[in-house]
């Protein structure tokens, strides 16, 4: 199941739903708003999205993960709007009979989400300036997102 939400992510509810007698392993990944990035202080983050397309891409990611690994459950939740310091912008919960599949699927999902899903992060720095984060390879405009 995938979801875009403007509310706080209740990751515990998704972990509870993922636990079952068929799942020997459950892995939760939370990506949260971090205070410091390369020595600069963040006051808060905002996330924007092309929602119809982001939902489609997230649905594709879930389907591809279920094809690649033996998953008994797969949740991908992304929060939009303001995500204050320490709160989760993304939660991924995967469950599988054996732990390797859950770890591998969880890592692949967050790595791929960060490359392909049309969601953008706007830094609101402590110094009052703001920046949209657009990671650009081979460019000194790069602001790499790396939580």
């Amino acid at each position: 199941m995938i979801q875009l939400t403007h509310q706080t992510i209740d990751s515990a509810a998704f972990v509870r739903q993922a636990q079952s007698p068929d799942a020997g392993a459950v892995v939760l990944f939370l990506g949260s708003t971090r205070r410091m990035t390369n020595g600069r202080e963040t006051r808060t983050l905002f996330y924007d999205s092309y929602e119809e397309m982001a939902e489609k891409e997230l649905t594709n990611l879930e389907a591809e993960a279920r094809r690649r690994w033996a998953l008994t459950e797969c949740f991908i939740i992304h929060r939009l709007g303001e995500v204050p310091l320490g709160e989760a912008s993304v939660a991924i919960v995967v469950a599988s009979p054996h732990r390797r599949d859950a770890f591998d699927a969880g890592q692949w999902l967050i790595d791929t989400l960060k490359q392909s899903v049309p969601i953008w992060k706007q830094e609101h720095w402590a110094d009052g300036t703001t920046d949209w984060v657009h990671p650009m390879p081979l460019s000194n405009h790069t602001t790499k997102s790396d939580n």
């Binding site: 092309y50 397309m53 969601i119 953008w120 706007q122 460019s139």
Partner: protein, 81 residues
């Protein structure tokens, strides 16, 4: 032929609009649209070479022709997660 392009994040802020309309005499490709957007909005120059484009919420490459009345979106490098 009129094409409306949705803009997001940095691209939207640079142009100052959620979408822009461009007029073409004949059908064009995504690559031609990319060039034309930079021509009309030179401030997009640093960002647009790295942007992807989507037609009807599907990523497509520069060779893709744009169908009539298609929903086109400019997707600057993403940073979700």
């Amino acid at each position: 032929m009129n094409i409306v392009v949705k803009l997001f994040a940095g691209a939207r802020d640079i142009v100052g609009k959620n979408e822009v309309a461009l007029e073409f005499e004949s059908p064009i490709t995504i690559g031609e649209l990319r060039t034309r957007l930079i021509d009309q909005h030179p401030a997009l120059q640093p960002l647009l070479p790295y942007a992807m484009f989507a037609i009807e919420t599907t990523y497509c490459d520069d060779a893709t022709p744009i169908p009539k009345n298609a929903t086109v979106a400019c997707i600057p490098p993403v940073s979700g997660g």
